[in-house]
Amino acid sequence: MALLEIKNLHVGVEDEDIKILNGVDLTLDTGDLHAIMGPNGSGKSTLAAVLAGREEYEVLDGEILYDGENLLELEPEERAEAGVFLAFQYPVELPGVSMTNFLKEAVNSVREARGQDELGSADFLQYMRERADMMGLNADLTKRSVNEGFSGGEKKRNEIFQLAMLEPKLAILDETDSGLDIDALKNVADGVNKLRSEDRGFLIITHYQRILDYIVPDHVHVMLDGKIVRTGDKDLALELEEHGYDWVREEAAAAA
């Protein structure tokens, strides 16, 4: 059974007559890493938002099965508990919410949902230190409020750090590479590579091919106007880099 199965997904914005996704089909097996590429406005971030459960989008048609279950019926926190993780394109600053308290609650709520014991304070801090080490995250950041005053790169690293803490089955990275300098890009990619495993699937959404130099995808999809118009292997990303999106657009138009 596929980890994630998206079938003919049509999505609009609630209360507005706007359609963003126009029949997306995608199947992701556990252990695989898929990349979705596309120009701005193609709908790829909307797909990530719908997967994570953002309420402002309305699913007009189609379905999403996660582990064979209807994902759309779950609240955002239930998705997290079930093992879905979204690394935000724009991580939110939460002044006054300490990283430690926030992560402890988050980790323990997903642990509870998985039938694991809650971590006590000492065990949690130990676990957090290990994961920060593994992800190359400056441990000082865990002593601060969530994302408050973090640089752009630190925020993105923090998303991958949270991914490592929560150990999801399906990790969705929404333009995690955008705005990063070369060191942060390598660091994020390195973190993702460490977290790739047989029992975890990745869906990486990106505008550019560059991150795929460091994270080698099993499958690459091109999204245009709310549809996946082309699917291939890692070479497809290189072709896009060379020829741009116009080439796919013309091809898609010709096929239509």
Partner: protein, 447 residues
């Protein structure tokens, strides 16, 4: 006679005036000349001013006259409800190692107090007692900072003054442990109380005062408190106030402070309950290089109404003031904030900051906020801001996407909002006490 039932057949002002006349000449609080000579002036001024109505700009959003116009009893001589330590236990603060004074209905209860050893020269007592033991200190400071010329309720308090708390920290003295005043209302009758406090920190003194107001009764009460603080040169006074008297208690609480050169005064209030609560906070920085800090936290529920009315008077140069009031308003609760900053001509190089932030959680909760700047100097930095909003949806989604329930996410966001004020509490035990109380309140919002 120990009490006077106010005559409700006449207008409220006249009830007080006739009660004053009936008791005129009675030694209400010992024989201190400075206290008694102001009394006659005060009742006259009260008669002229009248009880404030909503027609006055300063009272536009808080209807205090209908709260005062109720058939209260006015206690004029010491009442001693028999209470024991079990009665006060629920109101003590865990791990707060303090010089403790318990006041019942505005009067010091020596049996329940535990003042312990104080540094040489430091006095913690009732104001009535201080009137005879330290008449010079009382003479120098009493009635000097809480002006009743324009404040009818300060005039009323001054006219009927009986007792309250007194602290005197002599020059250069450090009081290491906080001084904790537990104000309890214990009554079967509907009561009108007018405690009067005087806190004096002389030059170079350092002290922390914690006041907590609670009630053992469901009777309707109105407490008209006036407290005056003096902070001498290079002195540092922290002044905390927890307001938690329950839903049938209303109050006007006037806190007036005067600072001298190089001093620091910090006052923080946290308001948890009360039918109508009005805080008049006035700080006058009458010295250069003063630092004045006032912070307030209001966690509203049901139909409680809390009005923080603040005045920062900069009358000398080179001072700074920081003011931050935060409201979280649930149910049908109302918050009012008015913050006036006054900078006199010649008070150059003033740095004054004021901020009021509110989260309104329901459509029936309301906030009225108004900054007022009156600046006559030209080399000053004064900033003010006010925000009103709901819990940020994007932040909630972020927390939920990490596995926190909607309820937990909301509580965490509210705590984070309140934290900025709680962080200003320098006493760890008090900080934890307030944080816990705030957590419990926020949890109850989404039960």
């Amino acid at each position: 006679m120990s009490t006077t039932a106010l005559d409700t057949s006449v207008r409220p002002e006249d009830r007080f005036i006739s009660a004053f006349e009936v008791n005129h000449g009675e030694a209400l609080n010992g024989t201190n000349a400075s206290i008694s000579k102001q009394r006659t002036d005060a009742i006259e001024r009260f008669a002229e001013l009248g009880i404030p109505t909503n027609n006055l700009e300063a009272w536009k959003y808080t209807d205090i006259s209908s709260v005062i116009d109720r058939p209260y009893t006015l206690p004029l001589a010491p009442e001693r409800p028999s209470l024991d330590t079990d009665d006060i236990a629920p109101f003590l603060i865990d791990d707060l190692d303090a010089h403790r004074v318990v006041l019942i209905n505005g009067r010091v209860d020596e049996a329940l107090s535990d003042i312990g050893d104080l540094p040489d020269g430091v006095v913690v007592s009732s104001l009535a007692q201080a009137g005879s033991t330290h008449p010079d200190v009382v003479e120098e400071h009493y009635g000097k900072y809480a002006d009743f010329e324009d404040e009818a309720l300060t005039a009323l308090n001054t006219a009927f003054v009986q007792d309250g708390a007194f602290v005197y920290v002599p020059s250069g003295t450090v009081v290491e442990k906080p001084i904790f005043f537990l104000h309890l209302t214990a009554t079967e009758q509907d009561l009108l109380l007018q405690p009067r406090h005087l806190f004096v920190a002389e030059d170079g003194a350092i002290a922390r005062i914690v006041e907590a107001q609670h009630s053992l009764s469901d009777a309707q009460t109105f407490t008209n408190t006036v407290s005056e603080s003096f902070i001498g040169e290079k002195a540092n006074l922290e002044h905390y106030l927890i307001q938690d008297q329950g839903p049938s208690a209303s109050q006007v609480h006037t806190r007036a402070a005067q600072q001298k050169d190089d001093s620091v005064y910090t006052t923080i209030s946290a308001t948890f309950t009360g039918e109508v609560v009005r805080n008049n906070v006035t700080i006058e920085a009458d010295g250069s290089f003063c630092e004045s800090n006032f912070y307030g936290l209001v966690v509203g529920k049901d139909d409680m109404h809390v009005d923080n009315h603040t005045f920062m008077g900069h009358v000398q140069p080179d001072c700074s003031s920081n003011e931050l009031y935060k409201h979280v308003l649930n149910d049908e609760s109302t918050g009012v904030f008015n913050g006036k900053v006054f900078v006199s001509r010649g008070s150059q190089r003033i740095d004054a900051y004021q901020q009021n932030d509110t989260l309104v959680l329901t459509k029936d909760a309301e906030i009225y906020t108004k900054p007022e700047l009156e600046i006559y100097a030209d080399d000053v930095v004064c900033s003010h801001g006010a925000t009103t909003g709901q819990i940020d949806e994007e932040s909630l989604f972020y927390l939920r996407s990490r596995g926190l329930s909607k309820r937990r996410a909301r509580i965490l966001m509210l705590q984070a909002f309140a934290q900025e004020v709680i962080d200003e509490i320098q006493l760890d035990s008090l900080e934890e006490h307030v944080a816990e109380r705030v957590r419990t309140r926020f949890s109850s919002y989404f039960a």
